[in-house]
Amino acid sequence: MKNSNNSNGFIQFKQVSKWFESAAGRFDALKNIDLSIGQGEHVAIVGKSGSGKSTLLNMLTGIDHPSQGMVTINATEVHTLDESRLATWRGANIGIVFQFFQLIPTLSIVENLLLAMDLVNVIPKKERRQRAEALLLQVGIVSHASKLPASLSGGEQQRAAIARALANNPPILVADEPTGNLDSKTAIAVQSLFVELVGSGKTVIVVTHENLSDTKYDRIITLNDGAVVGDKKDLP
């Protein structure tokens, strides 16, 4: 694991580019992205379809590697990690919330959290169940702990997914269109959760299409055609 002197930001992108080769030719998903996100920031990444939001997220979470450039997170050069160490690092440092929840359908809600803790193994075994239940309480669905995901509404499943993302107490939470499948009322509730988490010290980065006026983001980064075209900071 390569550590670097990251005095410029908790999360840092330096000249990050990503392109894809296909039968149709080369497609530049990201072009020379320079970005720095501080610890504890609540950031929204916005842009039209095909602007590179998901690709940026994949760089951030290590799901994909840049074709060029560096991604450094909490002093770790993520792009240098091999797959095995990356998985463990990701589980301990980044909680991911997917658009379609992606809960394991054959495990109960609490078991989904226990599985996440089991895979990363940073939470002592004796504490896991208690922690899982506490997280479910925090997100407001502890009464559904022993139910299978299919028994829950979309909003409840997304809360469960957030709880799972927090299972290993990662400093960073990344959410890809977390309210894309939810009704407006539930979406607001989920967004409020993110605000609470920011308040507790987490860095929360959300890729979204949603109306930004209802949410208190510290920063809104706009992407277009793979480049950062807007970066509003210190929003009220």
């Binding site: 799901i63 998985a87 599985l115 290993n168």
Partner: protein, 789 residues
């Protein structure tokens, strides 16, 4: 419970039908191979153990001069382990009213004290009273003889009643049920009373420190030389294959058959697990992505799916292993009754359980490992981007299918079949293998049946009467002058002789059959050289077993043949294939010229005028009735139907097993196809929803999947039939060598009925395999199908 194990278990329980199907296939396979392993462990040693613990004789000599031999001195020879005068005479016994069978009468020296060619008390007396006899227990299965019976025994022209006072068990003898003999045991006094023969004319002995026939032959030659110096002329020398039961060949065939087919069934079950795991991994590809995204390493994800395979293996083993032990013992019991020996292995070696457990757990893992590794190696990004079938698997061209004159529906069904080429390949290959083996089973059965029919049809006579002694033909025919339905009678002769080759010495009394070279009462399947002709020189033909016994002599070469002490230089002109003991055939005139100037005969071949089955049976009965008051000393009377039945009885168990095991393999492969089809349909649930959303009716969806299933079935049948051809040839050759010996194959035979059954069964399986999941698919609503992940 460990959470990873919980996930594995939950995933399997989510589709209980599919899981049950795969477990069933694995259970069948493991049960099959487990039964084989268990019965093999028992039979491999038990038959031989039964035989060897009787201390069977290494050498059997007959001579009229043994009164010159001091048996006590003979037993003291350093090479002799044990020796005894155990007389043997061939008579006839009435087993049911008016039904007679050949009877072997053994004259035993001392029932209380013998350690050679032992037998054991089963019921009644251990030692027969004077004037009474023991019968071997297997004879009770072909008669109504029991302790207390008073059957008639025919000795020459004499008819006497000999009470049965005991039943014994003689595992060294070929079973009476198959060879249609009754074995009886009497003391020396009773022997003379019954047979009228002088005792102590048959010497049996065991040698020390010998293992091969060559060693036994060498030691025997020395003994014969010593006998010669004592003035003892030995008439026959018989050296059986050392320490091998007469029906070992049957057992070897059964075990070979069991072993190969059973293992295949198990292998196919394990392949099925591998296929299922591929499908599960394909279905759960996004789950794998998520697991890796939330912190799971490749190894951790692999453990979950390995746990699934282990669960399959464990559940299957728990069900199959006890069943295998039970059926293994049951099959061994069945074989033991059929071949007449006792099961001695009461406790299976622990290593057998170890093998079974290892097979049940390890083999599915080994076969699934490539698929598992491939599945978990997918990158997070690719996994999360996967929504089922990727567009690029179709390629960029419409393909050959688009050029065929097919309806859109047929085209879609055909192209759908080709989507997952690897899975399709495995499904078709597995099903084709099942079809091939099933078809091969029928073809081998047909080959054996054709052989039996040819064997039966090759003999044009209807009843054979064999005398114990050679007499004038006119004298032999007298009793039959008033028997109706006889078209003609031909007389043959037979006896024992010796052939000396450059490589080995005497043949130990090989059978000689002297018959008219141009007889039309029998035809032989000549496999090398030709049949006898009027060539002017002395010719012989031998069957394949005789050739094997004599070290495969060369056709066209001359060999000295010793018949009744007279040496004849005969040219070997041909080798024939038949299911008989080792025999040499010689022209009757040449035989008479050499050793039989009075033209005596001992074998009458009766041809019926009316060949209707019932008339032939009546003829045999009339012949028996004609013999009864006569003074003919009969060895046996046999109709062709009985002869065919005896041969069939030897092979029947094998025929049954072939078809049963073949069906087992086909069932396993069909289960595989059903599972694969179910997985295919499940993976395409969303696609089904889209089709229905754009106008496809449930009936159209259903027919599309059924067509897909039938395409796979037809492809499997075609491939299976192609594979079955060389497989059947190999299998026929294999069983031919096992049963007939000396590398002689059964001729390949194609079973039309077998083909029809294979075709029908496979198409039905294919239809069921696609119909059942297809019905489930159309039961899901369009909304649910589109929302399916």
């Amino acid at each position: 419970m460990n959470i990873k194990l919980k996930k594995a278990l939950s995933d399997l329980l989510t589709y209980p039908g599919r899981t049950a199907l795969v477990i069933l296939a694995l259970v069948i396979g493991l049960w099959g191979v487990g039964s084989i392993l268990v019965s093999y462990a028992i039979l491999k040693s038990d038959l031989n153990e039964n035989y060897t613990r009787t201390h069977p004789a290494h050498v059997i000599l007959t001579s009229k001069d043994f009164d010159r031999l001091d048996l006590t001195d003979f037993r003291k020879r350093p090479e002799i382990e044990s020796a005894e005068f155990r007389d043997l005479s061939f008579q006839r016994i009435e087993v049911y009213p008016d039904q007679w069978l050949p009877m072997w009468v053994f004259g035993v020296e001392d029932f209380n004290n013998f350690n050679l060619a032992q037998f054991y008390k089963e019921e009644g007396n251990k030692v027969p009273d004077v004037g009474s006899m023991l019968i071997e227990r297997n004879g009770q299965l072909v008669s109504d003889l029991k302790v207390g019976s008073l059957p008639r025994v025919r000795v020459g022209s004499k008819m006497i009643e000999v009470p049965v006072t005991g039943i014994n068990f003689d595992p060294a003898q070929a079973p009476a049920t198959q060879d249609a003999f009754i074995y009886t045991y009497v003391d020396k006094k009773t022997y003379t009373e019954i047979t009228g023969e002088v005792v102590n004319q048959r010497l049996i002995f065991r040698l020390k420190n010998v293992t091969t026939k060559q060693e036994i032959q060498a030691a025997t030659n020395i003994i014969l030389d010593d006998f010669s110096s004592l003035g003892i002329r030995v008439d026959t020398v018989n050296i059986p294959k050392p320490d091998e039961h007469p029906h070992q060949f049957q057992l070897n065939t059964l075990l070979a058959l069991q072993g190969s087919i059973g293992f295949l069934a198990f292998l196919m079950g394990a392949v099925l697990v591998s296929q299922l795991m591929s499908a599960i991994l394909a279905q759960q590809v996004r789950q794998i992505g998520v697991l890796k995204a939330i912190g799971g390493s490749r190894w951790q994800v692999l453990k979950i799916y390995l746990a699934m395979v282990l669960l399959f293996g464990a559940v299957s083993s728990i069900i199959a292993i006890p069943l295998a032990v039970m059926s293994g013992y049951a099959f061994a019991d069945f074989v033991a009754v059929t071949i007449n020996f006792e099961i001695l292995t009461t406790t299976l070696p622990v290593v057998i359980y170890f093998y079974l457990i290892a097979a049940g757990l390890l083999l599915p893992i080994l076969l699934s490992l490539p698929a598992l590794l491939k599945g978990v190696n997918i990158s997070v990004q690719d996994a999360l981007a996967d929504y089922g079938i990727r567009q690029d698997t179709y390629g960029n061209e419409a393909g050959l299918a688009a050029k065929l004159p097919l309806s859109n529906r047929m085209l879609l069904a055909f192209r759908n079949t080709m989507r997952r080429k690897r899975r399709l390949g495995i499904t078709v290959a597995t099903m084709a293998l099942g079809v091939a083996i099933f078809s091969t089973g029928f073809n081998v059965r047909e080959a054996i049946a054709v052989f039996l029919a040819e064997n039966r049809d090759s003999m044009k006579y209807d009843v054979q009467v064999v005398l114990k002694n050679q007499i004038l033909l006119e004298q032999a025919l007298v009793p039959f002058s008033s028997v109706n339905n006889i078209s003609r009678v031909e007389a043959w002769n037979g006896g024992r002789g010796r052939l000396q080759t450059g490589r080995i010495s005497t043949t130990n009394g090989i059978g000689i059959v002297a018959l008219p070279y141009d007889t039309d009462l029998a035809t032989w399947d000549v496999i090398e050289g030709r049949w006898l002709q009027a060539s002017g020189e002395t010719e012989i033909v031998m069957n394949q077993l005789a050739a094997e016994t004599l070290g495969n002599p060369t056709v066209g070469e001359y060999y000295p043949i010793d018949i009744k002490g007279k040496l004849l230089n005969a040219k070997l002109v041909g080798i024939v294939k038949e299911f008989e003991i080792a025999k040499i055939y010689i022209d009757k005139d040449q035989y008479d010229a050499l050793v039989n100037p009075e033209h005596l005969v001992n074998s009458l071949m009766f041809v019926a005028a009316d060949k209707d089955y019932r008339q032939v049976i009546a003829l045999k009965k009339d012949i028996e009735n004609a013999i009864a008051p006569s003074d003919l000393d009969i060895l046996y009377v046999l109709s062709q139907a009985e002869r065919a039945e005896i041969i069939f009885n030897h092979l029947n168990i094998i025929l049954i097993l072939i078809v049963f095991l073949s069906l087992l393999v086909l069932v396993v492969s069909a289960l595989g196809m059903a599972s694969a089809t179910g997985i295919n349909i499940m993976e395409r649930t969303r696609e089904i929803g889209v089709l229905r959303a754009i106008g496809a009716t449930p009936k159209m969806i259903y027919s599309m999947f059924v067509i897909e299933g039938m395409v796979v079935s037809i492809a499997s049948i075609l491939l299976g039939i192609i594979i079955a051809w060389p497989l059947s040839i190999l299998a026929s050759a294999f069983f031919g060598d096992l049963i007939l010996g000396n590398g002689i194959p059964f001729d390949f035979a194609f079973s039309y009925s077998g083909f029809g059954i294979t075709l029908t069964v496979t198409l039905i399986f294919g239809w069921l395999a696609s119909r059942i999941p297809a019905r489930r698919a159309i039961a899901v609503s369009t909304r649910e199908a589109i929302a399916y992940e």
